[in-house]
């Protein structure tokens, strides 16, 4: 009846009748209370979030950012592959054609005039990042912050697109 153990690690537990001290439970209870008491003096595991942040792992996927190339032009060409690949259907966009004189803003001839990600739908799977042929979208941001209204979770280009390089430099300079 006893099946041959597949893992070879099965242990047969002996069930001895409890002795007197085990039966009155009190020693066990006191032992347990001793253990919990000692935990009062252990290091707290809590990370006080907004002030402290846990270190992100290397493949952490956070808020999306739409990247710029080395000249500060938006890389996205509004091909829609990210929206297509998105399992949560979180991405919508409206494309537009690049006019003359906008070459310093957009790298390709077509660009996304509107680009929105609904952060309530997004499951941070990273498929958009994988699908993108232009290396325009990366999930390298922080945790998406909480908010009060649903509409505030629909992130437009204002929140998604990376800052222009010179502004970023200026900001860094100000901080230092």
């Amino acid at each position: 009846m006893l099946m041959e153990s597949l893992s070879g690690r099965r242990k047969v537990l002996e069930q001895k009748p409890m002795n007197f001290w085990e039966r009155i439970y009190l020693p066990a209870i006191f032992k347990g209370m001793g253990i919990t008491f000692m935990h009062m003096f252990k290091k707290k595991e809590t990370i006080r979030y907004p002030e402290e942040e846990r270190e992100f792992s290397e493949n952490w996927r956070g808020m999306h950012s739409l990247k710029r190339d080395e000249d500060g032009r938006e890389r996205c060409t509004a091909c829609g592959l990210c929206a297509l690949s998105c399992p949560a259907e979180a991405i919508t966009m409206i494309s537009a054609e690049r006019e003359k004189g906008e070459e310093h803003l957009y790298r390709e001839e077509k660009y996304a005039a509107v680009y929105e990600i609904n952060m309530l739908r997004c499951i941070f799977c990273g498929l958009c990042e994988e699908a993108c042929p232009k290396e325009a979208i990366y999930l390298d941001g922080p945790i998406v912050p909480a908010d009060y209204l649903r509409k505030d979770f629909i992130y437009g280009k204002d929140k998604l697109v990376e800052m222009p390089i010179d502004e970023l430099e200026a900001l860094k300079g100000a901080k230092v």
Binding site: H39, M40, K42, K44
Partner: protein
């Protein structure tokens, strides 16, 4: 003279009322903190420094929540349940001596609302009334889970009351009085009753857990089986009233245990301190000692709650009827024999 007496009592009652309320409120805070500490967490720390404003925030929340009275319920009794629970829980504080007689403005003031000569029995009666709040509320909710909770609460209270009463009888054999004041006075400096009645104290504290419906005996509100037990249907302030009643009961039973077994406001070396500080500040130290003991017991209640899992219902009844009651009776017999022998010698 009589007016002064009434005035004095009125002040004492008011102070006690406010004190009880704030201790109950801060017990909720302490409960969370203790739970957090025992689980390597930090606990509430956002509302005020160390989260000290948390009880206020909770109270505010309770006030502004929607009050739901289920349509199938018995409206009056539904309201009467939590009110009764809260009311009865306050009654216990009346007979507890919080300190020695203190000299204030040239007058000797007892720090006890009233010293009735059957104080212990009074506490006992009040405790046994406490279950009505649970029963009425549970029944009036017109919900099977609530009713089960109410029924459990009632049978648990009645079962453990017996063992509790028997453990007190053994204590009374030692003290020879039913008045809290005299019991407290007898335990001068280090002559605490727990030294003479260790078994009685053990039985008493187990019963105290059961009577206040605290873990491991919180079967009336056991959420894994009964959703929320007797307070399943309650919301907003009525729910708060039940919770408050539980914490006040915890405070009262901690105070009772401190007075009956742990010397109340007595501490070793109190005579020296009293003669040093005089009749006003000496008793104040005593009151502080009393409150330290009470808070230690409250902490103990919480410590147990976050350590020990809940009993099963049949285990609860077995423990009450088959273990604690025989033990308590044995304790009475042993105590009686020892007292007779010691008296003869």
């Amino acid at each position: 003279m009589e007016l002064a007496f009434l005035f004095e009592k009125l002040i004492l009652v008011t102070v006690l009322f406010v004190l009880t309320l704030s201790i109950a409120a801060y017990s909720t805070w302490l409960e969370r903190k203790v739970a957090a500490w025992l689980q390597d967490r930090v606990g509430p720390n956002r509302a005020g420094i160390f989260g000290l404003l948390q009880p206020l925030a909770d109270g505010g929340k309770m006030f502004f929540k929607e009050e739901i009275i289920p349509s199938g319920s018995n409206k009056w009794l539904f309201i009467a349940g939590p009110s009764l629970a809260l009311l009865v829980s306050f009654l216990g504080t009346a007979v507890i001596p919080f300190g020695q007689n203190i000299e204030l403005f040239g007058k000797t003031v007892p720090l006890q609302v009233t010293d009735i000569n059957v104080g212990i029995l009074y506490i006992f009666g009040v405790v046994s009334l406490g279950v009505y709040g649970i029963m009425i509320g549970g029944w009036a909710s017109n919900n099977k889970y609530s009713l089960m909770g109410a029924v459990r609460g009632a049978s648990q209270n009645i079962s453990y009351e017996i063992a509790m009463g028997l453990s007190i009888i053994a204590l009374l054999l030692v003290t020879n009085t039913l008045s809290f004041k005299e019991i407290a006075e007898q335990q001068h400096s280090w002559h605490w009753n727990v030294i003479y009645q260790p078994l009685g104290f053990l039985i008493f504290i187990i019963c105290a857990f059961a009577e206040t419906n605290r873990v491991p005996f919180d079967l009336p509100e056991c959420e894994t089986e009964l959703i929320g037990g007797y307070n399943t249907e309650y919301s907003a302030f009525k729910m708060g009233a039940y919770m408050f009643a539980e914490y006040i009961n915890m405070f009262v039973s901690s105070a009772v245990m401190a007075v009956l077994y742990f010397g109340g406001y007595n501490y070793p070396g109190m005579d020296a301190v009293n003669s040093l500080l005089g009749p006003t500040w000496g008793p104040v130290i005593g009151v502080a000692v009393m409150f330290i003991k009470i808070i230690a017991f409250i902490f103990f209640f919480m410590w147990v709650r976050w350590t020990i899992p809940r009993f099963r219902y049949d285990q609860l009844m077995d423990l009450g009827w088959k273990i604690l009651i025989p033990l308590a009776i044995a304790n009475i017999v042993i105590t009686a024999i020892v007292i007779t022998v010691v008296d003869k010698l």
